[in-house]
């Protein structure tokens, strides 16, 4: 089993539609993971049925028992996050501001404060339109442990593929370069970098590539909307050349992409025979070939 992780540094580059296309092409040979737990939306493109759901518990918040509280104010003085206030003669915790540090509960002389584990989100395992399975999640409001939820998504995916005929895990990585994307990249056999020919596209590509280098991962690249700015495309190609990253597709600016999106279809489903679909199919074939080659050999 091989793990392919698609990332782009920033949103809006076409990363999700491309990973959904790969999943669509790979069919039941693959299992797909949506690691953008903060704003997941790949399920829309693949018709996920939300078959199994599980609570994801993480983090805590303080709760004051009014019956035990003597209104001494020690908790308010201790809290560095301004999460405790006296409201109409009773101390109360603002759940949005509470970081779950336990300080208040440790200083409360009346033992009136308990810490409650919070539900931080939902984890789903679904069947999708080409009979493959998909693991995805939704982070709850204001929850911050997205790195942990991403790790949970990946772990769940690996458990499913154990002792199965599944050959690839295709992961739509989290945006950014922080903790969630590091979790998305763990265990990757091949990273697919998606960028676009814009001034911010190349900037984000370079940032995210630094991360890949730190982890010593093998990467290939797809340039989207390459004809929007040919100079920029040249600059990106030069960068890829210097860094020894294989360019596996250059996709033109094409409204078909958006049309497919508005029907909630991956491009390779929307129009199997259009030029764009051919390029995406070719890219998928190249990915499959490249994943077998280890760097340095």
């Amino acid at each position: 089993m091989k793990e392919i992780v698609v990332i782009s540094g920033k949103g809006g580059t076409g990363k999700t539609s491309l990973s959904a296309s790969f999943a669509y092409l790979a069919g039941a040979e693959s299992l797909i993971c949506d690691c953008d737990v903060d704003a997941a939306n790949m399920h829309l493109l693949l018709d996920a049925d939300f078959d199994k759901r599980e609570d994801f518990m993480s983090g805590e918040i303080a709760k004051i028992d009014a019956d035990l509280c003597s209104n001494c104010g020690a908790c308010e003085a201790a809290c560095r996050f301004d999460a405790i206030h006296r409201i109409e003669d009773q101390y109360e915790v603002d759940p949005i501001s509470c970081e779950g540090c336990w300080y208040c509960s440790r200083v409360c002389p009346s033992h009136a404060i308990t810490m409650e584990t919070q539900k931080a989100g939902d984890l789903f395992v679904s069947h999708i339109k080409n009979n493959a399975q998909m693991v995805h999640a939704k982070l709850g409001f204001g929850a911050e442990n997205s790195g942990k939820l991403v790790a949970k998504v990946k772990q769940t995916a690996r458990n499913i593929t154990k002792d199965s005929a599944i050959k690839y895990i295709i992961t739509d990585g989290s945006p950014g370069i922080g903790c969630p994307v590091i979790s998305s990249l763990s265990g990757a056999d091949l990273v697919v970098l998606v960028t676009e020919a814009t001034i911010s596209g190349i900037h984000d590509l370079k940032r995210v590539h630094k991360l890949i280098k730190t982890f010593n991962l093998q990467a290939v690249c797809i340039i989207n909307k390459y004809d929007l700015n040919l100079e920029m495309t040249q600059e990106i190609e030069a960068f890829l050349h210097d860094e020894d990253i294989k360019l596996i597709a250059k996709l033109p600016y094409d409204e078909t992409f958006t049309k497919a999106l508005s029907l909630a279809q991956p491009i390779v489903e929307y129009d199997k025979d259009c030029a764009l679909s051919h390029l995406v199919k070719q890219a998928w074939e190249t990915i499959k070939e490249n994943i077998l080659i280890k760097k340095g050999i």
Partner: protein, 288 residues
């Protein structure tokens, strides 16, 4: 526009919806209409508004967070601090106490509850705030150091910095993507939040998530539909149904995308985009 101290946050469920395009162009447009404006990039993990702005760096301010520092002298190695820290940022070994600053949330509990005062809080660098002078408006950027994970403290320090240094100035915040802590921090103190979306199933999905967040925060908000003309009418129908004002619709336009790819200002060249900015200016001017 009457209020000269408005705080507007520009947000979206996801990246790539045109947040940076709208915030940079809106700042320049308002400035060209004789308003004092400061634009602040709060996407501290990956700020890139600066790429689109021709501006001179004026000042750099180092940002710190407070982290305990172990002082061996009086420490009895009782191990209490390690038990107290709920974020596993302290490990007590038989012969020493180790602190992991990346994991510390600066709650002060270990420091203040240590029986021997052996863990005083000390500043540790997490990033910087840069102030720029553009031709017509001010620009501030918060930038987290690579490898730092705590975006929220830097966002709140950047907002405080802008509050202190720019009085009687319209404040436009370019928010980080997503719906979790960073965007909450960037939105909660604003007078108004503008959510940018596009009329596709993706856009609608992200918008719903962002709207949920704004409702929990009890924020005033409105919607801009970008790349209008692609997709379907579901976003408009949703806004109508939910009573959410649509501030403007920005037409889908390849010429606009091309200007964006070069990092150029768009409204001086594209009339319909300028009209959209005018809609926004009128709209925010109408907020009481």
């Amino acid at each position: 526009m009457k209020k000269n101290n408005l705080k507007i946050t520009i947000a979206s469920g996801k990246g790539g919806t045109g947040k940076t395009t709208v915030s940079t162009n809106l700042s320049s447009y308002l400035a060209s209409n004789n308003h004092a404006v400061v634009l602040t990039d709060l996407d501290v993990e990956e700020p890139n508004s600066a790429l689109f702005i021709d501006a001179k760096l004026k000042e750099t301010t180092i940002c710190n967070k407070m982290v305990p520092k172990w002082e061996r002298a009086d420490c009895t190695l009782c191990g209490k601090c390690a038990k107290i820290c709920n974020f596993n940022a302290i490990v007590a070994l038989p012969s020493e106490v180790l602190v992991f600053p990346e994991l510390c949330h600066s709650c002060y509990a270990c420091s203040e509850l240590c029986p021997t005062n052996s863990l005083p809080m000390n500043p540790v660098r997490i990033g910087e705030i840069k102030t720029f002078e553009a031709t017509d408006f001010h620009f501030v950027e918060g930038r987290l150091d690579l490898g730092q994970e705590m975006a929220v403290p830097l966002i709140s320090q950047t907002i405080d910095y802008v509050d202190e240094n720019f009085k009687d100035t319209i404040k436009i915040y370019d928010a980080p993507p997503g719906t979790s802590c960073p965007v909450i921090e960037a939105s909660r103190e604003s007078d108004f939040v503008i959510l940018i979306t596009e009329s596709t199933p993706f856009g609608l999905n992200d918008l719903r998530l962002a709207v949920e967040t704004m409702r929990v925060l009890k924020q005033n908000f409105g919607v801009i539909i970008n790349r209008y003309g692609i997709g379907n009418n579901d976003v408009e129908a949703y806004c109508q149904q939910e009573g959410i004002p649509i501030i403007t619709k920005i037409k889908n336009d390849k010429a606009l995308a091309t200007l964006y790819s070069k990092g150029a200002l768009i409204y001086p060249k594209i009339e319909h985009f300028k009209n959209s900015l005018d809609d926004i200016a009128t709209f925010i001017g109408a907020i009481k």
